[in-house]
């Protein structure tokens, strides 16, 4: 019977095990690292260092600046001495980034450059506080929060959506955060409500996290948000927590390609970001750490609060090291993360997870047109068709088939029984199309 049930389970169009192995592990603070490596780039914008080699810096002290004044300030995440600069290949933007290395002095002395304020402050003051705290989105994309909120100020926001879906397998950082820091999250929601003045506020969580509903409701009642916040447990099929998919699920509105959530009156924020807002406003604390899940083939899986820029190896050694058959370590979730080419990689603000996996290759065989990729695609594309065009170099045909709607969730490659790297081929086509547009 068990065999049959496992067969039926696996035969679904997209059956992705949740692998949430660390829901029971409380968030622990990773001891201060000996050094941090901070790539001088936020959401593709380069920063020029203002600290020089040998300078003493404090935690939360500005060490680099961007030409764009709307970009968040760039802070040291530990106190110590600037040890120098190294090159780091950013796995997402695929560029070499100048990075600053800070050796810790072990004291973690904080610069006192921002002060706590209260909700009585004006919207402008709250926004400035968010900018000063150097917050960028912690859900994986890393968009600067100040810019997002500033543009939301000018538009009517119908739905403020707090994204606690955490639809990637393995990752439990947001779950633990919502469980342990519910009050902080509610305070953060209050700040965002004041800034964006939404008609509705929705906290969306995965239906796998139904145990969170009660504690969150209690926290909402105690914080006085009460009725203005609705908590929704939504069915989780990856990528149900992706911004555009979540907006569609909650509001029924479609955010077209090249459009922003604000165009349909929605503003979506990750729960970790909300907690950072709360810390910034009420505690005067700038963003220097984040919560990640360390899971997979490590000896002791854990949810860790780490300083941004901590080398991967520190977190892994704290978790007892890697299993012998580890073949790769993924920075980020298993579906959209990137593999580290060295364990000296820094943990950036975008990394939601550190996942050690085996190095198995999958067998690739011919496409049998089974249609599983189509069933798995959240936006209803035909990945197999795009793959064929991409492989043949027919990028115009890819454009005709709406390739720009693809947002790299990876479901097609996951579902393909022939093990064809579909999303990878689609990425090649998207990049080629983009390059041709740039050079045209």
């Amino acid at each position: 019977m068990k065999f049959i049930s496992s067969l039926t389970r696996k035969a679904k169009s997209l059956d992705m095990p949740a692998y949430k192995l660390t829901t029971g592990d409380p968030i622990k603070d990773l001891p201060l690292p000996e050094k941090v490596v901070l790539p001088l780039m936020v959401y593709g914008a380069e920063y020029k260092p203002v600290a020089k080699k040998g300078d003493k810096v404090l935690t939360g002290e500005e060490i680099a600046r961007c030409e764009n004044p709307a970009m968040p300030p760039f802070y040291a995440t530990i106190s110590g001495e600037v040890a120098g600069f190294i090159k780091y290949v950013d796995p997402i933007f695929d560029v070499i980034v100048n990075s600053i290395v800070i050796k810790s002095d072990g004291n973690d002395q904080w610069a006192e450059n921002i002060r706590p304020i209260t909700l009585d402050a004006s919207v402008e003051e709250l926004l400035e506080q968010v900018r000063l705290a150097g917050i960028s989105g912690l859900g994986g994309a890393g968009f600067p929060l100040y810019i997002k909120l500033k543009s939301a100020c000018g538009c009517p926001v119908e739905n403020l959506i707090i994204n606690g879906m955490e639809c990637e397998p393995y990752v439990t950082a947001d779950y633990r955060l919502m469980l342990e820091e519910a009050a902080g999250i509610m305070n953060g929601i209050k700040v965002l409500q004041k800034i964006t003045r939404p008609q509705n506020t929705v906290l969306a969580i995965s239906d796998e996290y139904s145990g969170l509903i009660e504690p969150l409701k209690i926290a909402a009642r105690e914080s006085g948000i009460g009725e203005s916040l609705s908590i929704k447990a939504l069915t989780t099929i990856h990528p149900s927590g992706a911004e555009k998919i979540l907006i569609k699920t909650i509001t029924g509105k479609v955010v077209g390609p090249g459009k922003l959530p604000l165009d349909v009156g929605a503003s979506v924020h990750n729960t970790g970001t909300i907690k950072a807002v709360s810390d910034a406003v009420f505690k005067g604390r700038s963003l220097v750490d984040r919560v990640i899940t360390v899971t997979g083939k490590v000896k002791k899986r854990a949810n860790l609060r780490v300083r941004i820029g901590t080398p991967v190896i520190d977190a892994i050694e704290y978790c007892g090291g890697l299993d012998d058959d580890t073949g790769r370590v993924v920075l980020g979730g298993p579906m959209t993360g990137k593999t580290a080419y060295s364990l000296d990689h820094p943990i950036t603000a975008r990394a939601i997870c550190l996942l050690a996996l085996n190095g198995h290759k999958r067998q690739e065989s011919a496409c049998i047109r089974c249609g599983r990729c189509i069933a798995a695609c959240p936006v209803g594309l035909a990945p197999a068709e795009l793959f064929r065009y991409s492989r043949a170099g027919k990028f115009e045909d890819c454009e005709k088939e709406n390739i720009e709607l693809c947002f790299d969730c990876g479901n097609c490659s996951f579902a393909c029984p022939s093990g064809i790297p579909l999303v990878q081929y689609i990425r090649v086509a998207k990049r080629e199309i983009m390059l041709r547009k740039v050079t045209a």
């Binding site: 569609k248 980020g332 364990l343 049998i368 996951f414 022939s418 093990g419």
Partner: protein, 318 residues
């Protein structure tokens, strides 16, 4: 530890997980379900059926290896070959001269499948293509049916139920029973019940999309009703159930989008009944599905659901 990791680490791009429901596994399950009607056929027709099945399997493998040699491809066999062999064998009459079965196998694998590019590239279902070839080339032996009699029985030639060759009264319970258990003269897989059990397993395990077989069976039944014929007889007799679960659901030769698959199934249903009721041949399942196979690229081209947000792209300013 860091350097040791570096030595054996692999760089991969996401997704780093794989569902693991492999093509081989899909084909293995399909093959296993085909064994049910095969067992039913052997039970009904004894060694006559068994020999046809064995010859088809051996001949299909031989043809596959020959083609791979000729095309300079690795000889690694894929599970598509035994599936084609079983599908072809089960749709042949028991007692068929074995060299004809072998010839059909070679035609199916070499011409219908490999000549078009092999697994995943063939336009027509290899087994059905081979059957059509045999029907056209060897009309007499291909329509020479024998009475089911189990092992060691003498082959008594008779006519198929669709051609009126049954003692049971039309519409009677006895006839349905005979059709369900394959107790009426027909191809090896003529027991509709065995085919339905196999098909249901495929549907439950979501190997196949249930919409296509349902659409096919319903359209056959509705047209039978419209022409004043017995719908249950038309569904159970001939290859309708076989076609519904094992040929119309062949992913390679049918449309990829589900609305296209339903259109394919309805089209096949209409053609099956038109051939049965108005054409000269007693059964039309083979030709109906083959004709729809040919239309598959056309259906795929025009029937695709619009992706989410596509309307916004087209209507918005470029």
């Amino acid at each position: 530890m860091n350097s040791a990791f570096k030595d054996k680490s692999r760089l991969t791009t996401g997704p780093h997980l794989w569902g693991g429901f492999s093509t081989n596994r899909i084909m293995l399950i399909t093959l296993a379900t085909l064994l049910i009607p095969a067992a039913g056929g052997v039970y009904q027709y004894g060694e006559q059926a068994l020999w046809v099945i064995v010859v088809c399997i051996v001949a299909c493998y031989a043809a596959d290896i020959l083609c791979r040699k000729l095309r300079g491809q690795p000889l690694r066999p894929d599970m598509g070959t035994p599936i084609t062999a079983l599908l072809l064998a089960l749709s042949l009459p028991p007692g068929l001269p074995l060299w004809i079965a072998a010839l059909g196998s070679f035609f199916g694998i070499c011409i219908v499948k490999e000549a078009f590019g092999g697994l995943g590239q063939n336009i027509f279902n290899p087994a059905l293509g081979a059957r059509a070839f045999l029907l056209a080339s060897f009309a007499a032996p291909m329509t020479r049916w024998i009475e089911p009699g189990g092992f060691g029985a003498d082959a008594i030639t008779t006519a198929s139920p669709l051609a009126g060759g049954t003692a049971a009264e039309p519409g009677g319970l006895e006839l349905y029973q005979a059709l369900l258990f394959g107790d009426a003269p027909g191809v090896i897989a003529s027991g509709a019940l065995f085919l339905m059990v196999g098909g249901l397993i495929l549907v439950i395990l979501r190997i196949v999309d249930f919409r296509a077989p349902v659409a096919y069976i319903v359209s056959v039944a509705l047209i039978a009703l419209a022409f004043g014929e017995d719908p249950a007889f038309h569904v159970l007799a001939g290859g309708v159930i076989f076609g519904a679960f094992f040929f119309i659901t062949d992913p390679v030769t049918t449309p990829v989008h589900w609305p296209g698959r339903v259109i394919f199934a309805v089209g096949a249903g209409v053609l099956t009944m038109l051939i049965r009721l108005l054409g000269a041949a007693p059964d039309g399942v083979t030709y109906a599905i083959l004709i729809m196979n040919a239309l598959t690229p056309l259906i795929d081209r025009y029937i695709k659901p619009g992706p989410m947000g596509a309307k916004e792209v087209k209507s918005g300013p470029a």
